[in-house]
């Protein structure tokens, strides 16, 4: 556990000091909300149908910025190599990076969600609390794969392009499920398909987090 905690602490220390990721993510999300809010002059009903997609565009695209930055610092001075050279279990190093990216992305999502409510005039109810587990499941799906694929892409010159090419096709199911369930929650109507989709999201997260944990050792080798 101390290895995981050391990596999380180190990543947060650096981010709070530089605010590199959070600034870029904040500006990006704000732009999405502002631009789309003024682009679509539609009825509230239609806006309710569009807004879950916009929310997840903001979550995932700004999450990509955070993910890129998180691994950029591991690349700059050969740090990922030095982590792999320590006696620490590579799986624990994976979990350290995974938890730090996930926590950071979730905190950021919690900060931009109020903006989303204001811009898109979302009516809050007890059902809206379902957004929390949906955001957690969707974010874990994104960051579990994003963490290992970032470690793959870090060895290449076109790191950001390769990461996008590898990551987007793989996270498409979890994004679709996240958007769908968010839409149900915002509409205040949890359809019969809601629960099975949540279960699928849990299964997706467990499978890809486990696979990534098992494969990380081979990814960090030269």
């Amino acid at each position: 556990m101390s290895v995981i905690w050391a990596i999380i602490r180190k990543d947060f220390q650096m981010e709070f000091r530089t605010k590199d990721s959070v600034t870029a993510m904040w500006i990006f999300s704000l732009l999405i909300f502002v631009i789309f809010n003024f682009t679509f002059e539609v009825s509230r009903l239609l806006m309710l149908q569009i807004s879950p997609g916009l929310l997840w565009v903001a979550f995932i695209f700004s999450g990509m910025l955070g993910l890129n930055r998180s691994f950029q610092v591991e690349k700059e001075n050969g740090n990922l190599r030095s982590l792999a050279l320590t006696p620490a279990d590579p799986g624990l190093i994976y979990f350290g990076k995974f938890f730090s990216t996930t926590l950071f992305t979730l905190i950021f999502e919690a900060l931009i969600f109020p903006l989303f409510i204001i811009f898109y005039d979302i009516h809050l109810s007890l059902l809206t609390l379902w957004i929390i587990p949906i955001a957690i499941l969707g974010t874990i799906g994104f960051t579990s794969l994003g963490t290992i694929l970032s470690a793959v892409a870090i060895h290449t010159k076109q790191q950001q392009i390769l990461l996008s090419l590898l990551l987007w096709p793989m996270i498409t199911p979890i994004i679709i499920w996240s958007v769908k369930t968010t839409g149900d929650v915002l509409a205040g109507d949890l359809s019969t398909a809601f629960q099975p989709v949540i279960i699928r999201m849990i299964v997706f997260d467990v499978i890809f987090t486990t696979i990534s944990y098992l494969l990380f050792e081979y990814v960090v080798q030269e």
Binding site: V3, R9, K10, Q13, N77, N79, R81, L85, P87, Q221
Partner: protein
């Protein structure tokens, strides 16, 4: 009766291929304990690949490598070795102290607080412990790299071209630190193309050319001119054979 010094590193017929490219061709050598062993060679000779295999970061395509009697890929001896290269392995936006504390936790260093302060004093950076690494000069960075490398008190140091980019003052300081480690009985494996520095520090040396060992020997009594002559004749005969 001459006492046999146990070998810390044993390599037998190591071969490494990256697809069609051969990076090492049947490399065999031994590094006895408490020896400063230097591998000379040009860029592309296979020095860094060899170090990657010894550190367990890469697997040989064939052949046997043993570090402290074990396969380095098994990771069981990681706490006994340390790698220093021209990359600092440090985080620019952490302080010197935070960097060492972070690595100390990954190496499960006992009495971490005392140990970090001790090694910072050893490399003369204790007064800068609260400063961000990004404010350090190249020489200070290399000293902090050494501090990181000695933090867990390893028995074996693998140095991959550590003098790259250092000015004269920083080079002398690094040589001084390496001489201290040598005096402490640590085993040190250095790769370099700098014959002057390599010979100054070494007990034994090896020359890699065209991905294979072309010369091994004792550095004792060998002059720089003799080594230079030998090195360039081996390189030119290698080029002639190409």
């Amino acid at each position: 009766m001459i006492e046999q010094v146990p070998a810390v590193i044993t390599a037998e017929k190591l071969r490494k291929e990256f697809g069609r490219v051969v990076a090492l061709r049947g490399v065999s050598f031994q590094v006895p304990a408490s020896t400063f062993f230097t591998i000379f060679g040009r860029n592309g000779a296979g020095k860094s690949t060899l170090l990657s295999i010894i550190s367990g970061m890469a697997a040989a395509s064939s052949g046997v490598i043993r570090v402290f009697g074990e396969d380095p890929a098994a990771r069981t001896q990681r706490h006994r070795l340390s790698v220093i290269s021209h990359e600092s392995f440090l985080y620019d936006n952490l302080t010197a102290l935070e960097n060492l504390e972070f690595y100390g936790k990954l190496y499960s260093v006992q009495d971490l607080k005392e140990r970090t302060h001790h090694v910072l004093r050893q490399v003369g950076l204790h007064h800068r412990r609260f400063d961000l690494v990004r404010t350090f000069s190249r020489g200070m960075l290399q000293r902090l790299t050494i501090a990181r490398a000695i933090l867990h008190n390893p028995d074996l140091f693998l140095l991959d071209e550590p003098f790259t980019g250092l000015d004269q003052h920083a080079t002398e300081m690094l040589i001084g630190l390496l001489e201290t480690l040598k005096a402490q009985g640590k085993t040190i494996l250095l790769t370099t193309h700098d014959l002057h520095i390599g010979l100054r520090l070494s007990d034994q040396y090896m020359i890699l050319e065209r991905q294979q060992v072309v010369e091994t020997g004792s550095a004792s009594g060998l002059t720089e001119d003799a080594l230079r002559e030998k090195y360039f004749s081996l390189i030119s005969s290698g080029e002639a054979g190409q």
